[in-house]
Amino acid sequence: MTALLLALLFQKADPAAAAAPPPDPMGKYLADLENAGILTKGEDNGPASLERLRSQLAEAEDDLVTGNAQVASVKLFRLVESRDYAKFDYAPEYAIAELTLSRALIRAGGYKTAERYLLRVLGRGPKSPAFAPAYRGLVDIALETREQAAILAVLDHFGEDLAARGGELPKDAAWEHTYLAGKVAYEAGDTARAESLFSGVDRQSRFYAAALYFRGLIHARRGHLASARRSMCEIVEQVDQDRFTFFIDGRYYGIKDLAYLALGRIAHEQEKYDDAYYFYFRVPEDSERLPDALFEASWSMFQAGEYEAANAFLEEFDRSFGKTPLAPDVMLLHAMIDLKSCRFDEVRATLDKLVKTYGPIQERVATLLKDPDKRTAFYRRLLSKRSIGMPRDPIIELLKVDPAFYKFYADIVALDREAGMVPNEVAVWDELTAHEKGGGASNATEAVRLVNDVEALRPLAAGDPEMENRVADLADQARRAARLGNVGSGPFAKEAETSLALAGEARKLRVQLVAATSTIANKALVDLDKRLRELLRRARLTHIDAVIGKKKKLEIEIANLRQGRFPADLFATLQLEGLMGDDEEYWPFEGEYWSDEYENYK
């Protein structure tokens, strides 16, 4: 944060001030490599020119859009941190190169470095064509990394500095700032300030729909359901039929689905079940929210007494989402609809199935909660849930896991990937040292590859103690070989040491991330245990209701028979049986007349 503010102080639009920013570590490093003549050896390294800057920028952009963010960022580092290209600092292409580098860094996970380059772009002033995208980039980093308050402080400082010099933020940047400030206020619990700020986000801002959604949430929290509904409706319906209503980006469709769901819930709360039906129905088929929408729509129809409609939603749910966390709730709702429709035998059959399916699962969950070892094995399965090769686990299908779990898991995977590349990086330094010394070629890269190959043997050797020992010995020898004879005494020793230290830090952080994911999974397991117990308890109650209901139905039928009133189904049968002769047969109506069977047809 302090570093960012310092960087910003040097990024004033004043050209004199801009001329003396603190040297970027990567820039200094690049200068050292250029001085050592290392970076001039590649065959692609021609003299620096504006044409060359453009062509390199185009190549880097191509790399970025094809998913090669790392390659793109290395190319761009060589442009924006090179002394040779610094003379083109005035050119718009140079600013675009800085902006593209920050985009590549964001894509590769280097947020901190990206912030530095975005601030460099902002330092060029609001008239630069890259200013608005750079401002947006910083807001995106704030929202992605959750360092919203810290980045807002940096942007505030930038705004004050700009104002002091008589400058003004462009409208789009001002709306971005307002939205970010609103988000910070909302998360700090200052809903009054948040609402006022969100109201200031204009229709031409890409955050207009998100700001409306938050305004709706704030109204709902205060119990102002009509206002909440108005805000949500504005997101999903463009009443004025204008070609231009408000700006959107890729996030809009997710917000729109959430808005429909929220509208359905508000309507349900207001007992406007038909409205709720309409809003839930509008959640599109490809939405992640569809299972919730179907279940809640069914619940609304159930409350409205429209049991056929309620059943139709549940059948749709069963077809597509039978293996989701809501599945047991849906089964219970099926039984409740049957109960309301006096189909008591179906109720009992459904509930028997529910208890038979989810009773053992609840017992397994309880066992997992008691046994830490089994829990650890379970978390491993949970982490590989998305792999197609994993057999399905009914507990995993029922867990409602906090999205933070998958976020941390993605972090672990990314850390593993980065840390896994450290031996290769050290090998490069070793090769370079050997190269500079002019001795024979280093075998560092082969040694690293050998370490990887030997490590891949470990799973194959598992279970055979002799083979396990042999693989362990081989791995030790390979590591010793990879401990790099050249780099330790050469000019790049510090680089290699830094890389190795980072790998150690990555291992430590990994342990913390694994603990965090386990804590989240624990919570989900406890929650599942509670949910299943409650469901089974309610299933037992509904079962009792079905028994009482059936008994009561029979009592009423018997009383009616005593008084000579026949039930409809029995009445027709008895009437027909009384009229038919022994040689006659009765074909009951099956719900459709055919033209050749009905003489007055049409």
Partner: protein, 210 residues
């Protein structure tokens, strides 16, 4: 009959949650308070839940900040190493992967690894292209292993019963990178199978030029 329905209705009547908690947490019917205990329930009481594991608190913000800082440092270290590779190695290697099984089979995810390290990964986002380009990079001449990992799923127009089918394949190829040349590895993958049967096919062409 009406009496029975009235009784059941009263049993099923649910209390309402405040709307903001519904908006935030999407509670369904099971989230509503349960009806009062009945005599029958007293006869078969639910067992007390087992002792939950101790709930540790996570400082998400701290972890996130540490992670971002470390990831950035790792990235910079790697970028520095990659910067010098160009000066050290005269050979270059790039790859193109083409999937020809669409529209019956589509690529859900793809990853390319060089000597065990991931150099291209589609990540969690669904793949929309059928051609993957792995940018050219400096590489030490000699033998290297290129691993291709693909997750294949039935296309969108496949029948409902085939939903959930698919497979993951991983192939590793040892390739020879000549000194001072640009090597392009062209991998073409296809599947002519008729679901639920599969017929995966992989072809690798390697071209090296000055």
């Amino acid at each position: 009959m009406h009496l029975v329905i009235a009784l059941l209705t009263s049993l099923l009547a649910a209390e309402r949650l405040p709307v903001h908690s519904r908006l935030a947490a999407a509670p369904g019917p099971s989230a509503r308070p349960a009806p009062a205990q009945t005599a029958d329930e007293g006869g078969a009481p639910a067992k007390a839940p087992p002792a939950a594991p101790p709930a540790a608190t996570i400082d998400v913000a701290r972890l996130r900040a540490e992670y971002d800082k470390l990831r950035d440092a790792l990235f910079r270290a790697r970028a520095r190493a990659e910067l010098v590779e160009e000066g050290v190695y005269a050979s270059k290697m790039g790859a193109r992967i083409r999937w020809k099984g669409a529209p019956d089979f589509i690529m859900r995810r793809a990853e390319v690894r060089l000597d065990g390290n991931s150099i291209w990964d589609s990540g969690e986002k669904p793949l929309v292209d059928e051609i993957i380009k792995v940018s050219e990079r400096p590489i030490k001449p000699g033998q290297h292993s290129v691993t291709l990992r693909l997750e294949i799923r039935p296309g969108k127009k496949s029948e409902k019963e085939h939903e959930g089918l698919g497979y993951e394949i991983e192939h590793s190829f040892v390739v020879n990178i000549p000194d001072g040349k640009r090597t392009t590895i062209d991998i073409t993958a296809d599947d002519d199978g008729d679901l639920p049967e599969y017929e995966p096919e992989i072809e690798v062409e390697i071209e090296s030029e000055k």
